[in-house]
């Protein structure tokens, strides 16, 4: 991959990938390191010359693997850092969303983010996470239920 092709891939993927990492891992400084590592691994791989449409899921897969490595090593996940850095759009609603995400397990955060923000299909999520499609369907359903409970309990708190 030459520099021009890399720039095209980077400009199209860096921000969504960074947001995904920040929201799933919860730490901006860790996210910066993981982002660098994702592009390093892309360029190091045999698939560096792949088209943009293929590079995007491949980068998400690398990010997902790196996040799982962190969880396996037992490195703490917190969303407190990102809560302060986020731009104020609808503070109350954002706090609800923030709290919901904070209440979920990392795997559920990851799946919901890929499904609703990145608009990935079950098959694409399976490719990114390394799980099979059936497991994705079940885990996503569970994650939705948990998220719904967290959102509703927050709504009850407001009332």
């Amino acid at each position: 991959m030459d520099e021009q092709a890399f720039r095209a891939v980077y400009d199209a993927t860096a921000k969504p990938l960074s947001r995904y990492i920040v929201r799933v891992c919860g730490k901006q400084d860790v996210a910066d390191d993981l982002l660098q590592e994702c592009y390093f691994r892309l360029l190091r791989s045999d698939r560096a010359g792949m088209p943009l449409a293929d590079a995007r899921p491949y980068l998400f897969r690398i990010a997902s693997n790196l996040l799982h490595d962190r969880w396996r090593r037992g490195q703490e996940i917190s969303l407190e850092d990102t809560a302060e850095q986020a731009v104020e759009v609808h503070p109350e609603k954002r706090m609800d969303a923030e709290r919901m995400l904070q209440g979920l397990k990392p795997r559920a955060r990851e799946l919901l983010w890929l499904a609703y923000v990145e608009e990935m299909t079950h098959r694409e999520i399976a490719a990114v996470t390394g799980l099979n499609v059936l497991s994705i369907r079940i885990l996503l359903q569970r994650a939705r239920r948990e998220a719904q409970v967290l959102l509703e309990s927050r709504g009850t708190d407001h009332a």
Partner: protein, 101 residues
């Protein structure tokens, strides 16, 4: 799950996505850093490491043949020593590469 119950989750995550302000390094900077790392830490030479293992295996086989068969001449001895030297060199190089990473 019905669309109606999915909507609040979708909306919440979309808002969170819009509110997440991330600053990423410029593409040029990431390219330079990555190129430096790639130059400093070359890709693992898997073929070279397999070749080293193969040579070491062949050496052990040749040594076993040589010790169990008395018909070898001094040329045979020289061959086995030369072969051992090459195998040891290749093997040591592949090990030192692994440790450098």
């Amino acid at each position: 799950m019905p669309e109606k119950t999915e909507q609040p989750i979708r909306r919440a995550l979309e808002q969170l996505n819009a509110a997440t302000d991330v600053t990423v390094s410029a593409a040029g900077q990431v390219w330079s850093r990555t190129q430096f790392r790639l130059a400093y830490r070359p890709r693992r030479n898997v073929d070279g490491s397999h070749f080293g293992m193969l040579l070491a295996g062949l050496y052990v086989l040749a040594l076993v043949l040589w010790t169990t068969w008395s018909g070898w001449s001094s040329i045979g001895l020289l061959t086995i020593v030369a072969f051992a030297a090459v195998a040891a060199g290749v093997f040591a190089r592949s090990i030192s590469r692994s440790f450098r990473r």
